[in-house]
Amino acid sequence: MSDQIFHHAIRVITSSCKGCTHCMKRCPTQAIRINHGKAEINGNLCIDCGQCMAVCPNDAIKVEQDPFNQLDDYLVRVAIIPAVFFAQFPDTITLGEILGALYAIGFTHIYLAETGVDILNVLNAEEKAPELPLISNFCPAVQRLIQIRFPLLVDNLSRLRPPAQVTAIFARSELSSASADLGIFYFTPCAAKIAQFNTEGSEENRLFDGIINIDTAYNLVSTYLAKHDQVQEGSLTFALCTKQALLWSLVKGQIPSHEGRTLAVDEMHNVIEFLEILEEEEQTNLQFLELDACAEGCVGGILTVRNRFLASERLKYYSQQLPEVLDEVLIKRIQDQRKAFQNNLRLPPFEPTMAMGLDTDRSRALYKLQKVADILKVLPGIDCGLCGSPTCKSLAEDIARGQASLKQCVVLKLRNAQSSSSLSRIWGDPAREEDV
């Protein structure tokens, strides 16, 4: 099992949190509890998908943000930007203007993250996993979801480097002769990517020097454009990508890159429903699965500012001007850096985290499992969430783990305060034990 400590990018702002239970009920890994009227996130279970933030009515959940002046630490400042970023702007603002503004606010080189798709194609990189169907590792929230909730499927995850990593390796290889003082920054549409980047020892942590949230970059560019009437248009450091590459991050975007029978599933609850089936029934007739945590793909990312359908439409419209294959000059440029990718296209194997277990010791886990079954018989089974756990079952598990008391059940208390108190004595009450 991996000893890696996962970093999390999502924070609860306790002063704004009213303990309303919206986030707790939405969380796909049941990582949230309400304690003393405030939401708390269990770091062992959180996958940084941002569903809690999307549903919070009090703006009490925030994504961490590195300061933009981190750029100042480097002489050569490279931005690796996913196409989703450019789709945030209305049609009235051209790609050239956006790029011009980005150079003006401090970047020296700009690559499209999706160029990595073309690089992988030119290098003939083959995507395969020990088990079929192959599951894309592109969405970091899905990757973590599988490690935590679907440990039986970790061997299905693709171990080919995702495009942004490939672009980062390419850019560093191409530019390293220019200056040793090189900083590579990624623009992220979601919190799950930030969590990956800031996890000590991760591949992203190694390949990138900083991460910039798309909403922050959007504001910086918009502010610059609003203040300047004449913007000098800029261009990408690696001129273009193919049509297929540009659409990569949209739902079904990865499908054209795979042969055989394929399937794309988007939105967290659909993904979970599908993974449950996949874990139980062998779907060997399927070759490839693209699973996106956000509806419509990355345009639905938690840090995006524009309506996902409009953003998706802009990318599709823009892609019509792009070629099907790269021109010879660009292919040559990729082949010139071939060396940088030697034995460097695969990720280390994914490890299951087994965070769903009741106890690391099997006999204690077995004891707690029985306890959960017994406690469940007493609970009302209406999943109201008022106890601070998302379901009656999760409250039973919390009690079995020694992290909650049956007294927290409001329904039991309303029915009979006396019996609720004596039942909690039988099943354990952490508050009481602390008193002694």
């Binding site: 039986l152 106890d359 077995l366 079954a373």
Partner: protein, 140 residues
């Protein structure tokens, strides 16, 4: 720990519900994923067998520290020729069942492949009682 699931006859829409619930239980026991997978494949096959071929039955699970025993007990009509049923590809499935994507004749062979111990008591006209044993040691 003891856990039981009832399985109805001929209702293919609920095929996998019992094994799915059992899977959730196993995940909480902190078993190695490969072991969970073996157990679930075997239990799922047995569950489909009950739905497809029997008059209904139940799945009785006994969870221990070192072993898990799963008994699948149906209410008939029994397997007339067990040796044939254990053969890969041999099937008695009707046209209707084949159309649903089941009945490839891999049920019992798959169960045998995935469990550590298997005993089947059956006779034509009587009920079928399958006992599967799984060792919980991590595979090398």
């Amino acid at each position: 720990m003891h856990q039981e699931y009832t399985v109805p006859a001929q209702d293919f829409s609920v095929a996998g519900v019992a094994s799915s619930n059992f899977k959730r239980l196993l995940k909480q026991l902190n078993l190695p994923p490969k072991v969970i997978k073996r157990i679930i494949v075997a239990v799922f096959e047995a569950e489909v067998n009950v739905i497809a071929h029997s008059y209904g039955g139940r799945i009785v699970c006994e969870l221990g520290e070192d072993t898990i025993t799963v008994e699948v007990i149906d209410t008939g009509p029994g397997i007339p020729n067990l040796d044939l049923a254990m053969k890969e590809g041999w099937s008695t499935a009707t046209e209707e069942i084949l159309e649903l994507g089941y009945g490839a004749g891999m049920g019992l062979p798959n169960i045998k492949k995935n469990c550590d111990r298997l005993s089947i008591r059956t006779k034509a006209g009587e009920h079928t009682h399958i006992t599967m044993g799984f060792d919980l040691k991590e595979e090398p």
